[in-house]
Each structure stands twice: as C-alpha cells, then as structure tokens.
C-alpha cells in the first residue's frame, strides 16, 4: 500500500509534458505495416513487368509481325506461325456459351431469392449456391469431360460432338459462374430502396410487375457489373477448358469441335519442359499479358459501376 502511494505521488508531482515524444518502436512497426500494404502494389508491378518483359521479347522478334499476329489464323510459334485468332476465337466461344448460360440463370435465381423466397427458404438455398461456388475448377473439368460431353454426344450424336469440345466446357463454365452472377445480382436487387417498390405497389402493380419492371431496371447497373465480372472470370478460367475444350489451337466456330483457348494453351505448353529462351516461352507471356490486361480492364469497369451504383442509393 505504501509503495503504491509513493508511485501516485511521484506521478502527481512529475512536471506535465505533452510534447510529442519519439517512439522509435511505433515508427518501425508503422513502417513495416506500410511495406506490407505496398506488397500488393509490388505484385501488380511484378506482373506487369515480368509479363511485359517477356511479351516485349516476343513481339520484338522480327518474325512476329503485326500482320501475322492479327492477320493469320494458325498459332504455332515453334514453327513460325503467329496468328493469334484460333486462341482468341475459342476463348470467346467458350466464354460466350458460359455467359449465355449463367446470365439468365443467375439473374433468375437472384430474382427468385431476393423477391420471392422467404427469408427461411433463402437461408436454406444460399448455401447450395455457395457450395457450387466453392468447388474447385478442376472438378468442374472432370464434370465437363465425363458428364457434359457424353450428355451432348447422346443428344447430338457422336459424329457431331467431338470428345473434346468447346460447348461442354462452356456449358460447365456457365454453371461455375452462375453463383457469382446470382450473388452479385442479388446484392444489386436488394440494394434497390424499399421506397421504389412501395411506389410501384401503390400504383396497383403486382409483385411480378414490381420486381421485373421497376426493381430489375433499377438494379441494372449492378447486374451489369456482375455480368462484366462474369465475363472476366470466364475468360480467365483455365482448368475446365484445359480438360474439356481440346488441346491444340484450332480455328473453328463450331462449338462441338475441339479448340484450345488462351488459358488452356498456356497451361498445356507451360506444363511441359520449356526452355526459357524459346519463342514458345515468350509467346506464353504475351498471351498472359493480354489476359491480364483484358481482365484488369473488365474488373476496373465493374468496380467503377458498383461504386457509382452505391452512391446513387446512399
């Protein structure tokens, strides 16, 4: 007790000092945390630098001309064919099929969950979509090759549908993207203020008319953001197409034919033994750089839309 008293007294009689003190420990920690925060910037810079450097080497090769790159339709860098189109078209075809499946389905699921399902039903159904979203893409690849392809073959005939084909990869990719689109769209729908719904109901609108003709258009920009993220995800998806879409660039518009996508091509070539200075190696980085830029732009647009959408209803 006595000792405590003296401490109290000591403090009481210490001259008051409110000047800023140096706290070296604090500064070091803050600096470390700041560096950790910068880490993400380093990653982006590293991606741009590394992909850019190798892509530069690729495009700097005298054999790779602009005319060849965009003007021809065979991609085999090893033997001097640099036409990017077969990879691009198959990427576009698989992604389009995926979006064609996932946008209407995802939107319908979102409408059902946000406008029709009771809170109880919603909390029971949403985990199912979350499971769908959590399944690794390699498993979807298995599903595409060993379920969707046989299914398509039994419907359209084995002559029409090749064992590896863009259609089954695209369809399964659509299922994979569905939960993403539905959950983002649902967020957008439920962000539409209640006042707007009440306004519609007060005009004698039914629930359906309110949800589809008032709430849905009001949430359109949020749904647009979901669509763009969906496209970006589809373009960047690798395993489903690597397993089920085919292994070899093929310039075709027939979705039942095999054709390798940009991502599938990177996976197949880089998986083999690859010498670091070959044109094969640098060409992969050129493709990856294109992928990175396209998905980056799509993601930025989507985020911009979401931020604007948020402002409007806050």
């Amino acid at each position: 007790m006595k000792q405590e008293n003296t401490i109290m007294e000591n403090q009481l009689f210490r001259p008051l000092d409110l000047k800023k003190k140096m706290r070296p420990g604090e500064s070091v920690i803050q600096a470390l945390l700041f560096i950790a925060g910068l880490g993400s910037i380093f990653i982006t810079l590293a991606i741009v630098y590394e992909l850019g450097k190798e892509a530069w080497l690729f495009f700097g090769n005298p054999d790779v001309t602009f005319a060849k790159f965009f003007g021809t339709t065979t991609w085999q860098p090893g033997i001097g064919h640099f036409g990017i189109w077969p990879l691009v078209t198959s990427t576009l075809i698989t992604s389009s099929i995926a979006i064609f499946v996932s946008l209407p389905l995802g939107l319908a699921v979102a409408l059902f969950l946000s406008e029709y399902a009771s809170p109880k039903a919603r909390s029971a159904l949403k985990p199912i979509l979350e499971i769908l979203a959590g399944i690794p893409t390699v498993v979807y690849g298995y599903f595409a090759l060993l379920f969707m392809t046989p299914l398509l073959q039994s419907i359209f005939g084995k002559q029409t549908v090749e064992v590896y084909n863009m259609a089954s990869a695209g369809l399964v990719m659509g299922i994979m993207i569905l939960p993403l689109i539905s959950s983002m769209s649902e967020d957008a729908l439920s962000a539409v203020p209640r006042a707007l719904r009440e306004g519609a109901y007060a005009m004698g609108a039914t629930k359906f008319e309110t949800s589809v003709q008032v709430v849905l258009p009001a949430a359109l920009s949020g749904i647009g953001a979901a669509l763009i993220i969906g496209i970006s995800r589809a373009i960047g998806e690798t395993m489903i197409v690597a397993i089920a879409a085919g292994s070899g660039p093929n310039f075709t518009f027939n979705p039942f034919k095999a054709a390798e996508t940009m991502t599938g091509h990177i996976a197949r070539i880089s998986g083999g033994d690859l010498s670091y200075n070959s044109i094969d190696y640098t060409s992969l980085f050129a493709i990856a750089l294109m992928l990175f830029l396209v998905t980056l732009i799509l993601n930025l647009i989507s985020q911009g839309i979401i931020n604007k959408f948020r402002q409007r209803y806050e």
């Binding site: 203020p193 009440e198 519609a200 007060a202 005009m203 609108a205």
Partner: protein, 262 residues
C-alpha cells in the same frame, strides 16, 4: 359529424386495430371519410399516422409481422375481407409518399407505366399530358419528357409522383407527409394542387404542419397515444377542420394545435 351521410362516404373504419407482432400500433379507430374532401391526419410523432394511412391501401402487407383486426370499408366492402385482392385495392387507392420516389425511368414512362400495367386503352400521350397538367407540372417538363425523372428537382419529382398516381385514376389518394421534404414554394404548389384534385378525388393527407392542415383540409383527425401507457395510438377527435382548430372538444387536441404540446 352528423352532416356525413352514408352515400357520400369514401372510406370508413370500424373498430380498427393495427398490430406489429403483438404490439398494437393503432387501436380502436372509428372514422368515416367523406368523398371529394381533403381529410388531414395530425398528431405527434410515433402515434400511428403512417400506420393508419398505409392500412388504407394495404401497404402494411409488406411488413410481415403486421396484421389488422376490425374493418376498413370501401363502398361497403371490407378491404381486409377474405376475397379481396390487395392489388385491386391499391389500384383504387393510390399513394404519394413522404420522400419523392419516381421510378428510374423517363418522365413519360413514369406516368405511362402504371397506366400500361393497369390496362389503359386510351391515347397514352394525351393521358401523360393530362396527368402532368393535373399535377401542375406540364409546363416545366413538356420539353423533356424523355429525360430521366431523376433530373427533376425534389418538388418536381413529388408532383411527378402525384401525376403518375392520378394517371391511373384512383378513387382515393393517400399522402403521407407529401411536402415534408420540400421547400416552401414547392409545398405551396402541392397545397394548391390538392385543392384542384379534390374536385375529382378523395384525399387523405398526413401532416406535421398545423398551418398546412388548417389551410388544405376540410376534415381533421387528431391522433394521440392512448393515456393508458400502452404506446398505442388512436384517433381522439375527428371533425371539421375549422372546429378542431377553433373549438376542439378534447383538451389534448387544443394543447397540440396551439403548440402547447410537449
């Protein structure tokens, strides 16, 4: 109230209670609202004005826990009766809300939408013009009908909401503090509008503004929390507006309208 005769009654409540779960927000309301008149509902905050007015077009249906006992009669039919379709109720009893809530569509579509879903068969352009004129908005927007409704000012938006309501030709228009978010000039325009509208419609308006109630309404319902401490609101006095403001029966009404209330 003896001058209110049965044929002129637009809407009537009988022993009306409105609950949120087990909490009776409004209890025992018995009022008769006359056709083609403006009836104001006044009272302190939280006494159940919105709850009551929203019961008139079954807006409370969207609060899952809410339910009603007693009757609200529209031309002898109980709005909460068994075979009543709330969509049809809302089609006959329109509503204008506290904050303007135009649809994120063009000015034209804001008006044509309700008409379209309700099966309007006349000339749409004419209807849009009439409705906008009816809401005293036509001159301000006639050159930008295709523009988004969000580009209008708050007062204009509120008049657009009135226009879209009169476009579907309801019998009754409910207004829950329609001018509380507006500046004095816009408020004045809405008040003038109500005088115009009551030639064709029955209007029920909730307001916090005593002068407004005195200026625009023919009848006034005074609501208050019940004295028993249940926090349940009820109509303690209902009569001609003049009477309420000059010679109220209830002491509480007098205190409230003269501003002596808490």
């Amino acid at each position: 109230m003896n001058n209110i005769n049965a044929p002129d009654i637009a809407i009537e409540t009988k022993n009306l209670f409105i609950f949120y779960g087990s909490f009776a927000a409004v209890s025992e309301v018995n009022i008769k609202i006359e056709k083609q008149k403006v009836t104001a509902i006044i009272g302190p905050s939280g006494c159940g004005k919105s709850t009551l007015i929203r019961a008139f077009n079954r807006m409370n249906d969207f609060v899952p826990s809410s339910y009603v006992t007693g009757e609200i009669l529209l031309q002898g039919q109980n709005l909460y009766g068994k075979n009543i379709d709330p969509v049809e109720v809302r089609r006959k009893i329109g509503m204008v809300f506290q904050k303007p809530n135009p649809f994120p569509k063009s000015i034209y579509e804001n008006i044509s939408w309700g008409a379209k879903i309700n099966g309007f068969k006349g000339n749409m352009d004419e209807l849009v013009e009439q409705s906008l004129r009816g809401a005293a908005l036509w001159d301000e927007v006639k050159d930008k009908l295709k523009k988004s409704a969000y580009e209008l000012s708050g007062g204009q938006q509120q008049r657009l909401c009135i226009a879209r309501t009169i476009a579907i030709q309801p019998e009754i228009i409910l207004m829950d503090e329609p001018a509380s978010a507006l500046d004095p000039i816009s408020t004045l325009r809405i008040e003038e509008l109500m005088q115009e509208l009551k030639k064709n419609y029955t209007i029920i308006i909730v307001t916090h503004n005593m002068q407004q109630a005195a200026r625009v309404s023919d009848y006034t319902a005074m609501m208050m929390l019940e004295k028993d401490g249940s926090r349940s609101g009820t109509v303690i006095e209902f009569s001609e507006t003049k009477k309420i403001f000059t010679n109220p029966k209830d002491k509480r009404t007098e205190d409230y309208v003269t501003g002596r209330f808490g």
